[in-house]
């Protein structure tokens, strides 16, 4: 098995004040739209609509609206019997089982106790729920 080394990401690449690209501007406009459609009691919990120049305010706004929507999750639909293809997990005998993981443990444990302002390897792993 070949092990490939990733590049590290230099901390000076981090720029939370980087201007919004066209994608993020569009995303912000969509969030403004759906925030207006929230019931008034929930709308009151949303920060004021930010300008695209205020990156931190954009982040707070999108996070707040996202949080409201996911907290309103409907109950998962009851699943009907699945037709056909679902199978038992393939038993991994052989070599694949021998290829013991060296991958890190679940992200929750990795993200604990990190010092502030330190870049995390695999920033993906550091997200909080």
């Amino acid at each position: 098995m070949v092990t490939i080394r990733r590049h590290s990401v230099p901390t000076d690449s981090y720029d939370p004040k980087r201007p919004l690209n066209d994608l993020l501007v569009a995303q912000l406009e969509h969030f403004k739209h759906i925030a207006k459609s929230l019931p008034s009691d929930l709308r009151n919990a949303v920060p004021a609509e930010p300008s695209i120049e205020d990156r931190e305010a954009v982040d707070r706004f999108i996070a707040a609206v996202t949080g409201i929507h996911v907290s309103r999750k409907k109950a998962a639909p009851r699943l009907v019997a699945k037709p056909g293809r679902r199978r038992q997990p393939l038993t991994l005998d052989l070599a694949a089982a021998e290829e013991t993981s060296t991958e890190n443990k679940p992200a929750k444990s990795n993200s604990q106790g990190k010092p502030k302002s330190k870049a995390k390897r695999g920033s993906a792993r550091s997200s909080k729920r």
Partner: protein
């Protein structure tokens, strides 16, 4: 039935942002001739008419500010170099000229859209290059529209963008349901994992607003892997912006959108791959597709194909005020070629897939696997006629030589 297809239970799609095939993978052709990349001798003109070579000088960040335009009209220029005649053919040589227009006055940095990464230099991409050479690379995966992000991503979710060639995602009520809604109705499981609440989803208007149960965070995805509770179909959205986590630690944008650091996206890809690869309950029965939504204004040499009439939905047309080219668009041409890699221990290592793909191939493949009797009248012609990629799980024995990333 091949054993890999017989075992298949999960499809995972990671869609990244705004990089062309040649920009990311074109360098591989030298050592891996199965990859349809660059031979180093295909210069394109700048606005003075001088021919500019395609050079392996791309850097992980710092070269693509301002963000090269990739709206419909700009991409049209990139493909046809400004030719608007009825008999035009795609020449794929307008990339530098349109970036120079954007950066008035002309500056040498406009050549940066024709830079590519290298395989052997310090500006290599060990994760993407490793996966492309160790699994199967698609030599002809194109963006679905010669346009920007959101209309292209719509093809991955709905098999259509419903008349849209821009950044509008107000598709409600759309004639076709998303692949997630269809799977749910069929008793299947699916989830769209966004990175976190701050990055959130690009499918907020159509799905997050109304179908919250279909969403989870990236941490939820990792947890689902570890708990062997991955849905039948998983779509992962990267982190779209640098921002701190709740402890103040730096979370890098991982989408690779210019000018976010490409190395953070590499790290993200490796994390997802390793999580599946190192789980013996997932690796044998999970198919991972890594694909980019569109080219982001960056050079690629393969002419964008015109679609056969049999693949065109006649009811959809983008009017001239939407295309900004003075002409309507009938959704009969694909966008610029993008990187796409098929990953599974049942895929032939070091192979290349020559057939034509686009983002509608994603719901088409998911439907083929999980809803084989789906009513074609309930999805777009584009999706119903798109090539699917299950057939590349060809090996009779599962590979044990697949790479790992440290």
């Amino acid at each position: 039935m091949p054993p890999g297809l017989d075992a298949l239970q999960h499809i995972v799609v990671l869609m990244l942002e705004n990089r062309s095939f040649d920009h990311m993978l074109g360098c591989l052709q030298t050592k891996h001739p199965q990859v349809d990349g660059l031979d180093g001798a295909k210069p394109i003109p700048d606005s003075t008419g001088a021919m500019v070579p395609i050079q392996q000088l791309a850097q992980p960040r710092g070269q693509l500010t301002p963000d090269p335009h990739h709206d419909f009209a700009s991409v049209d220029y990139q493909i046809f170099n400004g030719d608007t005649s009825p008999t035009r053919t795609p020449t794929m040589d307008g990339f530098i000229r349109i970036y120079q227009k954007q950066q008035q006055p002309d500056v040498p940095s406009s050549h940066n859209v024709a830079f590519t990464f290298s395989e052997d230099g310090a500006n290599n991409l060990p994760v993407l290059h490793g996966l492309a050479t160790q699994f199967a690379v698609f030599n002809r995966w194109f963006a679905s529209i010669p346009g920007p992000t959101l209309c292209n991503r719509a093809f991955a979710h709905y098999g259509s963008s419903f008349n849209n060639v821009g950044m509008n995602v107000f598709y409600i009520p759309s004639p076709f349901k998303s692949i997630y809604e269809r799977l749910t109705a069929a008793g299947r499981t699916s989830k769209l994992f966004y990175y976190d609440a701050t990055s959130s989803s690009l499918e907020v208007v159509n799905l997050l607003q109304n179908e919250q149960v279909m969403f989870g965070t990236f941490q939820d995805f990792l947890d689902a892997c570890d708990a062997n509770q991955l849905p039948d179909y998983t779509f992962i959205e990267p982190n779209y912006k640098d921002h701190p986590d709740s402890n103040g630690a730096m979370l890098f944008a991982t989408d690779q959108h210019p000018d976010n650091d490409v190395r953070a996206g590499e790290d993200f890809i490796a994390t997802i791959y390793n999580r599946i690869r190192n789980n013996a309950n997932l690796w044998p029965n999970t198919l991972l597709l890594i694909v980019y939504d569109e080219h982001g204004g960056l050079y690629d040499h393969v002419p964008t194909p015109t679609l056969d009439k049999s693949r065109v939905d006649p009811q959809f047309v983008a009017q001239p005020d939407a295309t900004q080219t003075g002409q309507p668009f009938y959704f009969n041409r694909l966008g610029v070629r993008v990187p796409a890699i098929l990953i599974s221990p049942w895929v032939q290592g070091g192979s290349a897939i020559p057939d034509e793909f686009e983002h509608a191939s994603i719901p088409a493949t998911v439907t083929e696997l999980f809803m084989p009797n789906f009513d074609n009248s309930q999805r777009s012609i584009r999706e119903a006629t798109a090539n699917t990629f299950l057939k590349y799980l060809t090996l009779g024995t599962m590979r044990t030589d697949c790479p790992d990333f440290d």
